[in-house]
C-alpha cells in the first residue's frame, strides 16, 4: 500500500504535465465577449429617415440581423461601408443601423452618397 502511495506525486506531475501541454496551445489573452448569449439591451430611439418614427428593440426581432453602430465622423465606418453594402445586396443580410452621436441631416446625406444598406436606422445621441 505504501508503495502505491509513493507513486502519487509522480502521477500528479503527469497530470499537470498534460494540462500544461494543452495550456501551451491556448492563448490566455484571447477573451471572448462577455455579452454573448445575453439579451439585446432594450431601447427606444428615433429613426434617422423619419424624425417622428420611434423604434424599439421589438422592431429588430424576428430574424437574425446584423446591427452596425456607425457615424459620419468615423473613418473606419466609411472603410467598412462597402463591405456592408455587399453583404446587404449580394448576400441578403439584413442590417440594422444605429447612428451614434451624429447629425440627422448629415447622416441622411452620407447614406445617399455612399448607398444605404440598412433596413432600419435609429439615432442614438448618447450611450444607452
Amino acid at each position: 500500500m505504501r508503495r502505491i502511495l509513493l507513486f502519487v506525486p509522480f502521477i500528479f506531475c503527469i497530470v499537470l504535465g498534460v494540462l500544461f501541454v494543452k495550456g501551451l496551445s491556448l492563448d490566455p489573452t484571447e477573451l471572448p465577449s462577455a455579452k454573448i448569449g445575453k439579451n439585446f439591451p432594450s431601447f427606444e430611439l428615433p429613426s434617422v429617415r423619419d424624425a417622428d418614427k420611434v423604434y424599439t428593440q421589438t422592431d429588430m426581432q424576428g430574424a437574425v440581423r446584423l446591427v452596425n453602430v456607425w457615424a459620419t465622423w468615423c473613418p473606419t465606418c466609411k472603410q467598412e461601408h462597402s463591405y456592408l453594402n455587399k453583404l446587404a445586396t449580394t448576400q441578403g443580410v439584413e442590417i440594422i443601423g444605429i447612428n451614434y452621436k451624429d447629425d440627422r441631416a448629415k447622416a441622411k446625406q452620407w447614406l445617399k452618397r455612399y448607398h444605404d444598406p440598412y433596413i432600419l436606422i435609429s439615432m442614438m445621441k448618447k450611450a444607452v
Binding site: 505504501r2 508503495r3 509513493l6 507513486f7 506525486p9 509522480f10 506531475c13 503527469i14 499537470l16 504535465g17 494540462l19 500544461f20 501541454v21 494543452k22 495550456g23 501551451l24 496551445s25 491556448l26 492563448d27 490566455p28 489573452t29 477573451l31 471572448p32
Partner: protein
C-alpha cells in the same frame, strides 16, 4: 566581438556541464575514484565560463552595443549606468543567463565546501547540479541567447529599459530572488544523490541543512523585496496581488519552509526521511514550475516575459525530465527508508508534522488557485480569473492556524512532552495574550475586527512562548550571560525567524484591516482630512529628469495642527518608449506610511489625487528581513565548522604519550 566571446563562453560552459553531468555520476555508480574526482574541477570551470559569459553581456550593456539585439531591446544611451548594468536581467534572455550564472555560483560553492562529504556523495550532488545546468544552459543557447546580433540594420538607439524597471528594485530583487530559487537545486541534488546511492542517514540531512537555510533566506528576502518594490513603484499602494508569478515564488517558499523544518526533524531524530526527500524534490520542482509559468505564456501576469509557446514547450520538456524523473526515482527508491525512532503524540515531532501539513496545504491551495483558470480554459469551459477573494479567504485562516501551532510547537520537547506541563505553561500565557491582544486591538482602533484581534492575540502568544522558552533555558544557570552564549547559533536563528513571522503577521493584519484610501479631485489650495491628517494640494509643476519629463505635484501634510511632511508625487513621461509612470511619494514611518500619488490631470488645473493611510506596513518587510537574517545566521552554527581542531591536536597528544 565581445558578444561572440560571451556566446562561446556559454557554449563551453554547456560542454563542462555535460561532462559534469555524466562523468562523476558514472564514477559514483562504478566506484571509480578517478572519474569521481573530476566533479570539482569541472564544477569550477563551469562557473568560470559562465562568469565570462555574464561579464561579456554586462560589457555589451555598459558600452551601449546596440548591435546586440537584447541590448537594443532593453537599454538606451540616456539610461543611467546603474540601470544599464541591471538591464542585463531586465528581459527574458538576460534573466535566463542570470539564472544559469547563479546556478553555477551555487555549484561552485558546493564544490568548494564539499571537502567534508564522502567522494561519491559530492560527485553525485555535483552531477545532478550539472544536469540542471545542462538543461538551462542548452535552453538559453538554443532558444533564448542574449547574444543574438542585429547586424544588418543596427539601431542607432536602444528601445530603453521599461520605465517600471528603472528603479533600485530591479537592481536587487531578481538576483536575490534567483539566489533563492536556484539555491533549492542544491537541496534537490542532495535528495537525488541520496536516493541514487541508497544512503539516507542522518549525515545527509546535516549536510543539506545549511544550503537549504541559506537558499530559504534568499528566497524570503527576494519575495520581500518584490512586495516592497511593487508597493512604492506601482503607485496603487498594494503590496501583494496574488498574481500568478507572485504565487510562483510563494509556493517554493512555503514548501521550502516545510523543508527547513522537516530537515531539522530528520537530522535530530532520524524521522520523516521520505517526507523530507519529497519536500526537497517538491520545492525545487515548484521553482522550475515558476520558471515555466512566467516564460511560456500559459498564464497572463503583469510579470510575464515575452510569451512564447515554443520556449514554453522546451521548458516543459525540461520540467518533465527533472520533476518527472525525480518523482519516479522517489517512488521507486523511497520505500527502503526506515524511521530511526518514534515519538509520542504530545511532542515537538507531532507539531512539526502539523506544521508541514499546514504549509503543504496552503501551498496546494495556492497551486489550485493559480492553475484553475488554465484548467477551466483547457476544458473549454470559458475564461475565468481567480484573485484575492479566493486566496485571502483561504490563506488568512490557515496562516492563523499555523501561528497557533507555532506558539505550542516552540514550547514542546522532542519525543515526549507531558500534556499537563504543557497546559500549565501555555494556558496562563494564552489568557494573558488574549487580554493583551484584545486591549491592544481596542486601543489601536475602537472599531475592532475579529481577524485583526485574533492575529494580535496569536502574535502575543507566540512572543510569550518564545520568551518563556529562552527563559527556561537560562533560568537554571547562575550567570545568565554565559547561558545565553552557550546556546547554539541555530537556536537564536530559530527564535529570530519565528519572531520575524510574528512581526510580519502583525504588519499584515493591521494594514489589511485599518488602511484607508481616498481618490479625489483636488484643485490648487484644496485640502482634505483623513485619519487625523490634513492634506493640502499646492499644485503641479514641470521638471526635467535624465531620460524623462515630469509633472511634480506638491502636497503639504499636517498632523492635527502641526506640519508633518511635504510630499512630491510625480507623473513621468519617458520619451524613448512613450510611456507614462506614476511615481508615488511615500512618507515612510516605523508605524505608519502616508502614501500620495497623482492620478490624471482634470479640467481647470485640477488633478485626481490618491491618498493612502497605511499603518504598520513596514512591519511586513521588517519581518521578512528578520527571517532572512535568521536563515543566513544559521549557516554559521558551530556544527558546520570543519573539524580542523581534531587534526591539529593529534600530533601533540602523540608526543605526550
Amino acid at each position: 566581438m565581445i558578444a561572440e566571446l560571451g556566446q562561446y563562453a556559454l557554449i563551453l560552459g554547456l560542454v563542462m556541464a555535460t561532462f559534469l553531468a555524466i562523468i562523476p555520476m558514472y564514477g559514483a555508480s562504478t566506484g571509480n575514484v578517478f572519474w569521481m574526482s573530476f566533479a570539482k574541477p569541472l564544477a569550477k570551470s563551469l562557473f568560470l565560463f559562465l562568469l565570462i559569459s555574464m561579464l561579456c553581456l554586462v560589457y555589451a550593456f555598459a558600452t551601449d552595443d546596440f548591435s546586440v539585439e537584447y541590448v537594443a531591446g532593453n537599454s538606451n544611451s540616456a539610461l543611467p549606468i546603474y540601470f544599464k548594468l541591471s538591464a542585463v536581467w531586465g528581459g527574458h534572455e538576460g534573466s535566463l543567463l542570470l539564472w544559469v550564472f547563479i546556478l553555477t555560483c551555487w555549484i561552485f560553492a558546493v564544490a568548494v565546501k564539499s571537502d567534508g562529504l564522502p567522494l561519491d556523495i559530492s560527485a553525485r550532488v555535483l552531477s545532478v547540479l550539472g544536469m540542471v545546468a545542462v538543461g538551462f544552459a542548452s535552453f538559453t543557447l538554443i532558444t533564448s541567447s542574449p547574444f543574438e546580433r542585429l547586424l544588418i540594420n543596427t539601431p542607432v538607439e536602444g528601445a530603453d529599459l521599461n520605465p517600471l524597471l528603472q528603479d533600485i528594485g530591479l537592481i536587487i530583487h531578481p538576483p536575490l530572488l534567483y539566489m533563492g530559487y536556484v539555491g533549492f537545486s542544491v537541496a534537490f541534488a542532495f535528495a537525488i544523490a541520496a536516493l541514487l546511492s541508497g544512503k539516507l542517514d542522518v549525515a545527509w540531512s546535516r549536510w543539506t541543512r545549511p544550503w537549504t537555510n541559506v537558499s530559504w533566506a534568499f528566497l524570503t528576502i527576494g519575495i520581500t523585496l518584490g512586495s516592497w518594490w511593487a508597493y512604492y513603484e506601482l503607485g496603487w499602494g498594494g503590496w501583494w496581488f496574488w498574481d500568478p508569478v507572485e504565487n510562483a515564488s510563494f509556493m517554493p517558499w512555503l514548501a521550502g519552509t516545510a523543508l527547513v523544518h522537516s530537515l531539522a526533524v530528520t537530522e535530530k531524530r532520524g524521522l520523516f526521511k521520505s517526507w523530507t526527500l519529497l519536500l526537497a524534490i517538491f520545492t525545487f520542482s515548484l521553482s522550475l514550475l515558476g520558471t515555466f509559468l512566467v516564460r511560456s505564456g500559459v498564464l497572463t501576469s503583469v510579470h510575464s516575459f515575452a510569451a512564447d509557446p515554443e520556449r514554453g514547450l522546451y521548458i516543459l520538456v525540461l520540467l518533465a525530465i527533472t520533476v518527472g524523473g525525480s518523482m519516479l526515482l522517489y517512488a521507486i527508491r523511497a520505500y527502503d527508508m526506515k524511521s530511526e525512532s518514534d515519538f509520542e503524540l504530545c511532542s515537538r515531532e507531532t507539531l512539526l508534522l502539523i506544521n508541514n501539513l499546514v504549509l503543504v496545504t496552503i501551498c496546494a491551495m495556492i497551486l489550485i488557485g493559480t492553475l484553475y483558470p488554465l484548467l477551466i480554459d483547457a476544458m473549454g469551459a470559458g475564461k475565468i480569473s481567480v484573485g484575492p477573494p479566493y486566496f485571502n479567504a483561504l490563506f488568512v485562516p490557515f496562516s492563523l492556524i499555523l501561528c497557533f501551532f507555532m506558539a505550542i510547537g516552540v514550547s514542546l520537547r522532542w519525543k515526549k512532552s507531558s500534556v499537563s506541563a504543557l497546559v500549565k505553561q501555555l494556558l496562563p500565557s494564552l489568557i494573558i495574550s488574549v487580554i493583551l491582544g484584545v486591549v491592544a486591538a481596542y486601543l489601536y482602533n475602537e472599531q475592532m475586527t475579529l481577524k485583526a484581534t485574533i492575529a494580535l492575540v496569536l502574535s502575543f502568544w507566540v512572543l510569550i512562548s518564545l520568551g518563556l522558552d529562552v527563559y527556561s533555558k537560562v533560568k537554571n544557570s547562575s550567570v545568565k550571560i554565559l547561558a545565553v552564549k552557550k546556546m547554539p547559533i541555530s537556536y537564536w536563528s530559530m527564535q529570530l525567524a519565528h519572531l520575524g513571522v510574528v512581526v510580519s503577521l502583525v504588519g499584515v493584519a493591521l494594514v489589511a484591516t485599518y488602511s484607508q484610501e481616498r481618490d479625489i479631485r483636488m484643485q490648487v489650495g484644496d485640502s482634505i482630512e483623513m485619519e487625523g491628517y490634513r492634506f493640502e494640494f499646492k499644485g503641479v509643476e514641470k521638471r526635467q529628469g535624465p531620460n524623462y519629463t515630469s509633472d511634480t505635484g506638491t502636497l503639504v501634510v499636517y498632523k492635527g495642527d502641526n506640519f508633518f511632511a511635504k510630499m512630491h508625487p510625480e507623473k513621468r513621461f519617458y520619451p524613448a518608449r512613450g510611456t507614462v509612470m506614476t511615481e508615488a511619494d511615500i512618507d515612510a514611518g516605523a508605524f505608519l506610511d502616508i502614501f500620495v500619488a497623482l492620478g490624471e490631470p482634470l479640467a481647470d488645473g485640477a488633478w485626481a489625487v490618491r491618498l493612502q493611510y497605511k499603518p504598520f506596513i513596514r512591519w511586513i518587510w521588517l519581518g521578512g528581513l528578520m527571517m532572512m537574517f535568521a536563515g543566513l545566521l544559521s549557516a554559521f552554527d558551530k556544527r558546520y565548522k570543519r573539524r580542523d581542531k581534531q587534526r591539529s591536536t593529534s600530533t601533540p597528544v602523540a608526543s605526550l604519550a
